[in-house]
Amino acid sequence: MPNDSREKILRSIREALSVKAPARHLAGTGAAASGHKPQDWLPPVPSSPAELIALFEKNSLDLKTEVRHCADAAAAASELAALARENNWKSVGSHHFALGTETVSALGLPVVFTDQPYETADLERCDGGISGCDCLVAQTGGILVTSASAGGRVLSVLPPHHVVIASAGQLVGDLADAFAVLRKTYGSPPAFVSFITGPSRTGDIERILVLGAHGPKKLTVLLVQS
């Protein structure tokens, strides 16, 4: 449906912008001259890896994300097996990734792999979704995922329990650091990028928090030390 609105809108914009607007937001602040990065004003982020992990854990606790520490890949496998037992999983969705492939197959459960063609209905029936991620964000308690790192766009949101297997080295400070990870990995950010910050939630009824509105009711991070 071709139309000439693009040119019309651009023309109106250029006409409107011929009159300058006052830069009122700069009044009373040192924003222009301070030499700070904008994100410096957000909640502070520590620099040492141990403190980053501690902050991530603290924020996760507030968000009701469960964090389990695993000394190595073998420990992650046994934690995942424990999660499968505790939650009585019958089948899981997953994809092929460095920390996960062997761990998931060790479960001995049917697996729907979402990095190869799959049916949405099959994934919908899974009790857990197990994925990797690009990085963990300490400042917000967030998990950055892309199609490539987390088995597509759906795996991390459709099954009722999302488990992320990440290494401690994947911790970064804030969102700007997370964007830097994206640029380093992919050149420019890919077509699907999502920050997951806690299990799905709503407060739409009487402003009372309910977990598992449409996405996962539970979110677990298995944090592998080595």
Partner: protein, 467 residues
């Protein structure tokens, strides 16, 4: 008085006197204040963060042409179709044609205020399509046939009992007692709808020119599901949503969460830059972005109020507004309620029909103080008042003030007349607020203070005489 104004006055009057409604809203917002302050306290410097957020939006809005073209090119590079719509009708027509071409029957929508603004669901239903809202609050008000009460908390005015009643009546569900049970009923209904829908519709909170992504902020996961399961995705984006750089989101996403929902960060913040790419196994086959003007360029042309386009729709100004807290969201009769709605609605839908909203303000400035992107809201309300009067002066104002000036320039007449006013006071007091009271417009809802027994002039004379 415009019909919109008459309706507003009727609704506002009714709801202001509804004490149950007022108590309910105060209670709902009470928790928000506590949590918001907790979150704000975590910031290194909230005021500087506001300035930084405002600077990012200022740069975007004041170079809007450049960034929109960049956004369009970057989106197109990954196979997204970008459509520029001058108004709501053009946008709805385009989206209906996309649905027709793709053989779409069922649409799942995730909350979009821009879609609400142009009555998109109604237009698509008219075109014979099923449109289901997936955001819980929006779903509830859709079932009840109501508009959203608040731009961020659409169903905040309803009790669990009312929602239970709606679900029983419209969904045939069993009685449920708790918000959790009610949420799970909606979750069950929606799971089906996601899998059946062949088209998803979303809004956007931001659009990043540098990388060609739209950014969607949510808590429930409904936007993630509606944007990844159906084969066709349409996102409707107001042209003012663009930001220059990806790093701008490093500040804007946490601030939107803190100001809007008293959170550190909302649950899902998703960047969409294209349909399913080579090597991807899921995601929509088609992705359309509709860039909507709908008179935003008219607001842009008002340089004085241009910063109203900085708005990130967090709803923080509604939450602190004494007017909103008393008259509630529905009284406004607009898509955007509260101070921001009162500022922008006259620009979007006509100054003379909507000027009354700018007069319904205590000018306390709480809105401007809380705004995370530093919109000068209460001054814009004053500017709307001034513009409305300049455009269409009130016929009796000029003679009244001319008469007043004439009177005040005659001290003798003043000295003679002022004591007379004191004599009329008992009469005025007796008829106060009644139809025969010439001041009834004021006195119907307000007190008339008794005039002092002595004028200042008399007092001054006596005081000096005693010395």
């Amino acid at each position: 008085m415009s019909t919109e104004s008459a309706q507003f006055h009727r609704d506002a009057d009714r709801l202001t006197h509804d004490l149950r409604h007022r108590a309910w809203i105060q209670k709902a917002l009470g928790g928000y204040y506590v949590k918001r302050d907790e979150q704000k306290a975590k910031y290194t410097d909230w005021q500087q963060a506001r300035a930084a957020a405002a600077a990012a939006k200022y740069e975007a809005v004041n170079h809007l042409d450049k960034y929109l073209v960049e956004l369009t090119d970057k989106l197109a590079a990954r196979g997204t179709k970008v459509f520029w719509a001058a108004d709501g009708a053009e946008a709805a027509e385009y989206i209906a044609s996309v649905a027709r071409d793709a053989g779409v029957k069922r649409i799942i929508k995730s909350k979009t205020m821009t879609g609400e603004e142009i009555h998109l669901p109604q237009a698509l239903e008219k075109a014979g399509l099923e449109v289901v809202e997936s955001d819980l609050g929006e779903f509830i008000v859709q079932l009840r046939g109501e508009p959203p009460y608040h731009i961020v908390f659409p169903s905040m005015h309803l009790t669990r009992g009312e929602i239970d009643g709606t679900f029983q009546k419209k969904l045939g569900s069993a009685h449920a007692d708790t918000p959790e049970e009610l949420t799970m009923i909606a979750r069950g209904v929606m799971r089906q709808k996601y899998c059946e829908a062949d088209m998803g519709i979303s809004g956007a909170n931001f659009a990043v020119a540098e990388t060609g992504h739209i950014s969607i902020t949510e808590n429930e996961g409904n936007a993630r599901l509606s944007t990844s399961l159906p084969k066709v995705l349409v996102s409707i984006v107001g042209i003012e949503k663009v930001v220059p750089k990806l790093d701008d989101l490093a500040v804007l996403l946490p601030m939107l969460a803190t100001a809007g929902a008293a959170q550190n960060m909302t649950c899902y913040n998703t960047l969409l830059g294209g349909p399913r790419q080579p090597g991807e196994t899921d995601g929509p086959r088609e992705f359309h972005v509709v860039l909507l003007d709908n008179r935003r360029t008219a607001l842009l042309a008002d340089a004085e109020q241009r910063d109203a386009l900085h708005c990130i729709r967090c709803g923080a100004c509604l939450n602190v507004c004494p007017i909103f807290k008393n008259i509630g969201g529905h009284s406004y009769g607009t898509t955007y309620q509260g101070p921001i709605g009162s500022v922008i609605t006259p620009h979007l839908r006509g100054l003379q029909s909507w000027k009354h909203l700018s007069f319904s303000s205590s000018l306390c400035g709480a809105c401007a103080e809380t705004c995370p992107v530093k919109i000068d809201l209460h001054h814009h309300l004053l500017q709307n008042r001034r513009n409305a009067i300049e455009q269409k002066p009130v016929w009796w104002e000029k003679p009244i003030f001319a008469g007043f000036a004439w009177f005040m320039r005659r001290p003798r007449l003043y000295r003679f007349a002022a004591p007379l006013l004191r004599l009329t006071a008992p009469v005025l007091h007796a008829i106060r607020g009644k139809d025969i009271d010439p001041l009834s417009m004021w006195t119907r809802t307000r007190d008339l203070p008794a005039p002092p027994s002595q004028s200042f002039k008399e007092y001054w004379r006596d005081r000096n005489a005693k010395r």
